[in-house]
Structure formats: structure tokens, C-alpha cells
């Protein structure tokens, strides 16, 4: 994305000084409610600019301020400092409407992604209603991932940048307690020894239906 500064001097159009680039990144991030990718920044800034470095400078500058420069997946955004939330007029938060099933399903998708519906069902020990998945899809917190290369080619689910933005996560790797859970083996898809009723149901599901018909044309 960014050329080394030396190469640039050869170029006809010299990139603006770093301080100026920082201002530019600042202006663009301030103007945008949604995260902006580094590539997008580069496309808007003068040729030869180094948005990544400008971003890093800007991030440092806003440390401890009322707003912060945060990374959201592949993008960057300015968000108010969480400790000042009390000053804002609260929106009615959508999360209130989320059922326990939806919250658990969301967590399972986030921690186990990419994960199939059958796997979610095995972990929860109960079938996942279509409405739950639909709601999460509608909120754009999850999306369809690749199909799993197993019989029935079931679709998988993964979380979105929108989800990361909502929960203030740089990436899915920053989910709280992820390392510990992995270390404890709790994110493994451990095959049951013999026949557990729940897993049995799941295998049946995958083999027979995998419910691909519900998601047709989406993957």
C-alpha cells in the first residue's frame, strides 16, 4: 500500500509532509460514521501518502482524549471514549431485544467461527431457530462464511466488522477470554465417543439435510 519514503522522491508528485497526512486522516475519520479502511484512505489522499503511519500518529495523539482512534477489523474509526458514555443521549439499544438464545448463539459464532448451525446446536444442546439466525443476520452482526467441505456442504457463520465495531473489538482475536478458552480446549469440536444423543441428531442433520435449502443462493 505504501511505498518507502525514498522511492517517493523520485516521483513527480511528492507526498505531503507527514503532519499534513495526519490532518487528512483526521478529517476523513472524523467525517465518517463508519470505519474507513487504509486502502480507502490511500485512495483519497495524494499519491505517495502513507495512511498507515499517519493513522498510528493520530491514534497516539488521541490517547486519553474524549474521542479515540480505534481499529475495527480492517478499518479505522473515531469513537467517543467509553467512560464518557454517561454524557450522551442513549439510543434505545437493540441488544435489549436480543433473546438469551440469540446472545448465546452470537457468542458461539464469535468464539467458534466459522461454525455451522449443527455445531451451534451441539454446543447449546438444542436446536437453533431460524428466527434467531435471521435476527443476527439482519443486525449484520453475523454473515455467511464458506460452506464446510463435509457431507451436505453446510454453510458456516462468521461475525462481521459491524459486530466488531459494536463491541469495540479490533478483531475477533480480541474477544475476551479467547485464549483461555482455547487453552482449556473448550473451543474444540471434540467428537463424542460413540453415540451421544445430541451429536447423533447433528450428524443426521448434516447428512440428511444440513438445511442447505434454507440458505440457498446465499453462500
Amino acid at each position: 500500500m505504501n511505498d518507502a519514503p525514498e522511492d517517493r522522491t523520485e516521483s513527480l508528485f511528492e507526498a505531503p509532509p507527514m503532519a499534513e497526512q495526519e490532518r487528512m486522516v483526521e478529517a476523513v475519520l472524523f467525517a465518517s460514521p463508519d470505519p474507513v479502511g487504509v486502502g480507502d484512505l490511500a485512495a483519497r489522499m495524494p499519491h505517495g501518502s502513507d495512511p498507515a503511519q499517519a493513522l498510528e500518529m493520530l491514534r497516539k495523539r488521541y490517547e486519553g482524549r474524549g474521542v479515540r482512534v480505534v481499529q475495527v477489523g480492517e478499518g479505522w474509526a473515531i469513537r467517543t471514549a467509553p467512560d464518557l458514555g454517561f454524557l450522551m443521549q442513549k439510543e434505545t439499544v437493540e441488544t435489549r431485544k436480543l433473546s438469551r438464545a440469540a446472545i448465546e448463539t452470537l457468542a458461539i459464532i464469535a468464539y467458534h467461527q466459522p461454525v455451522t448451525r449443527a455445531e451451534i446446536e451441539e454446543i447449546r444442546g438444542v436446536s437453533v431457530s431460524r428466527g434467531t439466525i435471521d435476527q443476527l443476520l439482519e443486525m449484520e452482526w453475523i454473515r455467511l462464511g464458506r460452506r464446510r467441505m463435509t457431507p451436505g456442504r453446510p454453510v458456516t457463520f462468521v461475525v462481521t466488522p459491524h459486530f466488531l465495531d459494536h463491541f469495540g473489538l479490533e478483531s475477533a482475536r480480541d474477544l475476551p477470554g479467547l485464549k483461555e478458552l482455547r487453552a482449556a480446549g473448550l473451543l474444540e469440536n471434540r467428537p463424542p465417543p460413540g453415540m451421544l444423543p445430541i451429536s447423533e441428531a447433528r450428524e443426521e442433520d448434516e447428512a440428511e439435510t444440513g438445511q442447505p435449502e434454507l440458505f440457498e443462493g446465499e453462500g
Binding site: 467525517a31 464469535a110 454446543i123 438444542v126 469495540g168 475476551p176 460413540g194 444423543p197
Partner: protein, 263 residues
């Protein structure tokens, strides 16, 4: 804890109340695994050290009591009960060297793993929801400055496009765009309008066929369309409470009657 493994009477009143509540609330549970997880809490130990045998006993007792209270349990609860009964016997009896398959310990370990994993996911969900959230604890820019899109539209057409267009015009004579023939279609809106004017007089049961508009009864295509529209309009009027409709048997004539407002 081990004391009350075999003597149910020693459970405390509180525990028994809790168990009762469990059954009454069975609808509130998200499946048998959820019940097992809830039951396992009464053991007050680390999930990794849980006694699956004790858990199986509790679960079976739960199902028994549900039966006694004539609470219908969903099939998967009963499947789990059967499986736990099987597991219990495997855990209690010495292993049969002739039998294949996983040992009782292996099965118990996996169940314990499932419970631990479910609990871990619940904790993770709680931690996730406990995080600062966008729109609640931190905020995005209240009003984004719209990126003005300076859009320059250039139109393209190739010489081939031009020639094809011209060829198309010159060969159009044989071509007639497809248009639905509407003169044989009677719409539901038309039927509805007609029927609204007529139902006031339908005090007694009248064959729906008599409501067909004039001149639509002979041609079969027109009759079909008019009948369908009239029937749809009748249903609409029934739904609105203006009309009653009946049919004595399959394919029998459909009769309509004005609905009395009082009844």
C-alpha cells in the same frame, strides 16, 4: 454430597423446592443440556470435577417428577433420560469385556466436556454483552459528513451496438411486444366493487354463481376468471364481516349470505 447420592429424602427443603421450580419452569429451559447444567450447579463443584453419575440420577428424578406431575416433556428430554439411564448402568456395572464402544467413563467425560463448554459459552456471552457497546457506552460520529460523490457519467456504445440497434429497427415489423390480453380477465377489485353493491340484498343463501357479472358466464376463460375473482372478493367480504359463506361438500356450489351485524 455423596450422602444424598442414594437417599433422596436427605435433600434439603430448598433443594426440593428448586427441583419443583425446575419442573414447573420446564418451558424456560433450552433443552436437556440446559437442565443438566442447571442441575449440576447443585453439586457446587468445578464442572470438571462434576459427578456425572449424580447428575444422571438428578436428571432421571427430574423426569420422573415431571411425569408424576403430568408435565409433558419434549421428546429430546426423554431421549436424554434414556441415554443417561444407559450411562448410569454403564458407570455402575463392571465393564463387559465383550462389548464394543466407548466406556462409561469416556461417555461421562464427554458429557462433562459438553456441560463445561456450554457454561464457558454462557460466560463468554455474558462477558461479551458486558463490554462497552457502540451506541450505549461509546458513540460514533453523530452526523457523518457525506462524502460528496462527484460522479461523472460517461456513456458508452460501440459501433456494433449502433449497428445492432439499427438492424433491430429495420426488422421490427414481425415483432410485436408481448402484451397480456386483459379483456378476458376480471379482477378482484372489479368483483369486489360489484359485490359491495349487491350484498345488501343477499338476505338468504344464494349461489355465488349468480353474482357473476353479465356476459362473463359463457366463454369458459371469462367465466373462470370471473369466478375466481368473485370468490376472492367473497372471501374478502367474509373477512370484513359483511358476508357469510358456505359449501356443503367438495365441489358443491358455494353459497353466500349477508351477515347480520347483530349476530
Amino acid at each position: 454430597m455423596t450422602d444424598n447420592l442414594f437417599s433422596e429424602d436427605q435433600t434439603t427443603v430448598a433443594e426440593r423446592l428448586a427441583a419443583e421450580a425446575l419442573i414447573v419452569d420446564v418451558d424456560g429451559f433450552e433443552g436437556p443440556l440446559d437442565v443438566l447444567l442447571t442441575l449440576s450447579r447443585t453439586q457446587k463443584v468445578d464442572l470438571r470435577k462434576i459427578s456425572v453419575l449424580e447428575l444422571a440420577r438428578q436428571y432421571l428424578a427430574f423426569v420422573e417428577r415431571a411425569k408424576a406431575l403430568r408435565i409433558e416433556l419434549a421428546a429430546d428430554y426423554l431421549v436424554m433420560a434414556a441415554w443417561l439411564a444407559f450411562l448410569k448402568s454403564r458407570l455402575l456395572l463392571p465393564p463387559d469385556p465383550d462389548e464394543d464402544g466407548p466406556s462409561g467413563e469416556e461417555l461421562a467425560a464427554h458429557l462433562a466436556f459438553q456441560l463445561e463448554r456450554l457454561q464457558a459459552m454462557r460466560d463468554a456471552a455474558a462477558r461479551l454483552m458486558g463490554r462497552d457497546q457502540l451506541g450505549r457506552d461509546f458513540f460514533r460520529r453523530g452526523k457523518g459528513e457525506d462524502i460528496a460523490r462527484v460522479r461523472t457519467v460517461t456513456y458508452s456504445a460501440s459501433l456494433l451496438d449502433l449497428m445492432q440497434a439499427y438492424a433491430r429497427i429495420r426488422t421490427r415489423d414481425e415483432f410485436r411486444p408481448f402484451v397480456m390480453d386483459r379483456d378476458k380477465v376480471y379482477t378482484m377489485e372489479q368483483a369486489l366493487e360489484r359485490m359491495r353493491g349487491l350484498i345488501g340484498f343477499a338476505g338468504s343463501w344464494t349461489d355465488m354463481a349468480s353474482y357473476l357479472p353479465e356476459g362473463w358466464g359463457k366463454d369458459p376463460v371469462r367465466r373462470r376468471s370471473a369466478t375466481a375473482a368473485t370468490f376472492a372478493a367473497s372471501l374478502q367480504l367474509v373477512k370484513e364481516g359483511h358476508l357469510e359463506i358456505r359449501q356443503s361438500e367438495l365441489f358443491a356450489p358455494i353459497h353466500l349470505r349477508k351477515k347480520d351485524i347483530d349476530t
